[in-house]
Symmetry: C5
Subunit: 305 residues, 5 copies
């Protein structure tokens, strides 16, 4: 995720880092060259004049606006739902950490609730690893007893197995008579919420926007942009390449950003900063548990992952 403080309106026009412009340069360069050739040939192809004018582009533009708007809303909704789900991880783990002390009779100095808080932190990290397809074992071994870390390390759905582990922790509490059914059910309901979050993240990660939509939109955007110089060359003359590249930049960049945030759990520039969120959750849970907080990593540069 890109974090920059507010810029002056004029300086913001020339921002390079944080814009998708760098990644699009080859395509726009190609289009620029093509436009210059078309201007040079006065819109003729193999000595046939291509009889395009702005009218069909307006009809076309309507379809394009339709597509881009729809695609973009769907992508942003996925991005924002992903963010909400990770916000819910924060909320629910905080609530569970609090209740591990307030409803069980444990004191801050006891070993048992501290172990439970470590389970919650590990849950967060292993959810991140599952969504990004990375190896969770280092984080498991750092925070859990060796045998548990090994046992969870070989399972397929690690966050879910950690929830079962938390359920067993609560079950032991009840068997020891420290809590009754009412408190146990309250814990289980919070675990259900975490289970819903895991499933919600898996849903976003595994079900993209229907592929046919993406193909169709992609084709419409690019064909529109590459036909545009023929339509404008007669009225705009030598200005055509600049206008065409600018319009194309707008449309193509819009599609590119939508494509990027559609999968919000990745590691592209505009994706969610799952690492930073994991560290933040760890910090707040440790604070609730009365543990010393880790150093805040100095934030370098403008992109957090």
């Amino acid at each position: 995720m890109i974090i920059r403080k507010k810029e002056h309106w004029f300086r913001m026009l020339f921002i390079w880092h944080g814009s998708v412009l760098p990644r699009l340069l080859p395509r726009l360069g190609l289009l620029l060259v093509l436009s210059i050739i078309i201007v040079y040939l006065h819109g003729s192809l193999f000595s046939f004049k291509v009889p395009l004018n702005p009218a069909p582009f307006t009809l076309f533009g309507l379809a394009l606006a339709l597509f881009l708007g729809f695609r973009n809303n769907a992508s942003y909704d996925r991005f924002w739902e992903g963010r909400k789900l990770w916000g819910a991880v924060l909320n629910d783990t905080r609530s569970l950490a609090r209740q591990a002390f307030t409803t069980t009779g444990y004191e801050i100095a006891d070993q048992e609730p501290q172990y439970f808080v470590q389970l919650l932190i590990t849950f967060t990290y292993s959810l991140k690893h599952q969504l990004r397809g990375t190896d969770a074992r280092a984080d498991l071994h750092q925070r859990l007893p060796a045998d548990l870390a090994s046992r969870i390390g070989v399972t397929r759905y690690k966050p879910i197995m950690l929830l079962s582990e938390m359920g067993n922790w609560v079950r032991t509490l009840k068997a020891q008579g420290k809590i009754d059914s009412i408190i146990q059910v309250a814990f289980e309901e919070s675990f259900n919420k975490l289970s819903d979050i895991v499933g919600g993240c898996e849903r976003i990660a595994s079900t993209p926007i229907p592929y046919s939509y993406r193909v169709l939109l992609h084709r419409t955007v690019y064909l529109y942009c590459f036909m545009l110089p023929f339509g404008l060359v007669d009225s705009l003359g030598w200005l055509t390449p600049f206008i065409v590249v600018f319009i194309a930049y707008t449309f193509v960049a819009f599609e590119a950003i939508a494509d990027e945030i559609e999968e919000p759990f990745g590691t592209e520039d505009n994706d969610l900063a799952l690492n930073a969120m994991c560290r933040m959750i760890e910090t707040t849970l440790l604070e609730i548990a009365g543990q010393p907080l880790p150093e805040v990593k100095e934030f370098e540069g403008r992109i957090i992952d």
Copy 2:
């Protein structure tokens, strides 16, 4: 559902599988032939010149944009709600499987919770069969005791009857004194959620978008496309057929995709992969229950059902 890894932007322009283009070829071919004839006749019909120009098409285009946008949003909402409902099946069955161990006092080795987990898995498969109108009996007999499988096999709403069966399982637990009312009510609330999911899926499957909308949209799209060559022939000349077919492809494909995902539980290319989801739910439930996991089927091709 079509799953393809990200393509280079240029190669994506020429994708064949996963696009709806193949299915639309006959209609677009017909339109191409018609456009060529119109160009040949210079826009005259029976030696009367048809006096169409782009102006009414812009007025028209507005109505079309309205319709397509509305229809498309409604269809995508249905698709995504269907996906959310199946995500909720995953979440709730996982939670129930966990609680079958943590709140009942049963151990992983006990026969009873394993039977309950099989009920959950069978529930998932029979929901799929109900939504696709296929025969659930093979899946019932494979996972349940013969007499129960036969009894459920003749009922009309199998997933609901399986919920009653789960309710009876919990009732027996309480009668045996293994759980109290509080735990029973927690189970029943999870069953209620599964009942809501079944009803939600039935709602989507049984209530299409109002038929009059679909007829009206269909007519508007096709009449628009088939009148388009008359409107453009004067200004575009020999380029008319190509532009017309391209514009028509965009509009017609948009409607075709909306039509496909409107019923997300079917077996068309862009529909939800219910089979894959059933297998996935089965795997994660078996993992919670400490059972050996089935082999992951090698994923062949790009379309999962």
Copy 3:
């Protein structure tokens, strides 16, 4: 509600039943005659040429698109919320019917839970009668003891009074010691959900879209359509009547459908099939209660009510 199986794209262009076209014929006929007269007079009125051209229609069209899109979304949301509420009736009555057996200690053969299931079924029918303004007494007397049917029959809000009756049934259970407070509260929460559904349906039925919106939209649509021939006659000539009627059909039909589904509990073609839903709920509740199922009525024709 109109249920038709998918048609071939070409045949769908000529569908008559299920389209709103028949109902709109008189208005469109009037417009056709008017357009022909205007073409005959070359756009003059009392020998003054009406100097309209397509430009103001584009400005106008924007406002129209705005209105129609807004109105249509609001109407469809009402339709779909109505459908969701009735889906929730199904879900909640199913859950209550299950719990009448699983949480009370009653067996399938007992009289008491069967009476409760009849209360649920009667609740469904009387909600339908309240929303459609029809007489509920026949359905009450067919399913309830005579004295209760008479007592409910004279009340103003019958579904709500039936909920009180269900609450009394649960209260008796508790007084007999068959259930404890926990189970009673679980029942009461389900009754609260049914109460929310009744209120939600009443809200949709009693609060239309603000009347001023409807008047304004209606005027804009019709004035637009009746001024259209003056704007197009100069450029389209003898084709004007056909194009005008087609554009008008699109706009007017869009408004007519929105008007129809705005009140989803009525009996117009595109309204919800409350009768079919009541029968379906009755069937699934009887199946849960182990009763013989009624014959499935042969579905004749394409419109279910």
Copy 4:
């Protein structure tokens, strides 16, 4: 709120009451006079011809469409959320009234639950008075014991203080041993819902749409309309005033309605009928409590408040 039965499509074009037209007449009259002057001067101002044409109005129209659509959706959402909140008052007070009998052991003849129902009814009326800024004391004294009515009458947030009073009623029940903690918590949860409703209504009433939006939209709409005659006079001639006024009516009325329903708790024509809703809630609560129902007031005219 305006309630009219469906009119014939033709007669609906000439409706006066229920339309916002009467209120807008002075502005539209001013615009009409201005347009006529502009036509008379052939679009010149102080003998300079104002060189406006329809092109910039299309650019402008886009921004206008944007604004109006956004403003309108935001206003309607507020209107509909306000309606939903009042629907929830109905649902929750009905549920509480039912539970005052079914979960407490009280009979219909007992004084205590009747007092509780009066508290619920008074809560409804005092919420209305708070939202409309009117004096609640008459309604308080009519329904509550004199000392309680006086005590509540001087508080700032009357509905909230009535909720505390209901909480005290339940607390007394528990102290008397008539209910246990489980039933008490169920009551308190319903009170929390009512508290959420009060807060939701206060939110809508106290937080308008950001003021800058309203100023900007207002300016754009009116400047657009008053510049329109200069843009159309060259092509439309003597028809200009009529077309301009019609377009302006559409835009201005759209903004006026949005402005009206933005504050749904007021007493303008299209606002919510809070008085009617209070009477309706009173009737249904009295029916649940077995009390004689008040006469239904004859509904006179078309506007209910």
Copy 5:
């Protein structure tokens, strides 16, 4: 937040305070000067005539409309969600304050519930301080015992640590036998809701709209506006500067407002009035607790913070 009473439609056109116009004056002034120069040069740059006409601006305008609409909806949703979260703070603290008396057995004169209400008020103020990045210690020391205020004052997530403190208060109640598990869980559920609210506010404050969107939109809006005079100078002549500045005002102001309300917890003109809301929550909680209410600060001017 700007609060003004409704103005006459005509006077509203000339409002200065509350409009974003003052802040945009330098940019619009720059554009005005540029436009005048362009008119003076008849649209030539270095004696080359810039061949721009309105056609590409219509294509462009589509993309712009897309962007502005999307950006604006996303910003307003964030604003409104922030408002809803603060409304929920009000609702939940009210409910907790009520329950501190009704479910615990404490009387209004007791010290303990009064301390709890102070915890709730301090929670509200420290949430405000966290969101605005201001120093919470003065408010902590004013309302809490010195040692607790010091202990909370050094923590990183103060509202969350206050929730733990509330949890401890409830825990002590239970240890003293004043409440049972059921009441404790009801309290903890309300604390969970407050925890969700804190997390929701942190989400909005820490996750802006993807930066690339903002850059892209900003560029498109400003380039559009600065190229506009070249496109209009031929047809509008000496009127160009006025029309251009007006169109630019509309677009630029729209973006500026969206930028302002995107971070609703700041202190700009259109941001939420967190200070006023804190005071309001304090007042209503003190009223529930039977304390004397603070003087209502005279509301001066039109902007509340």
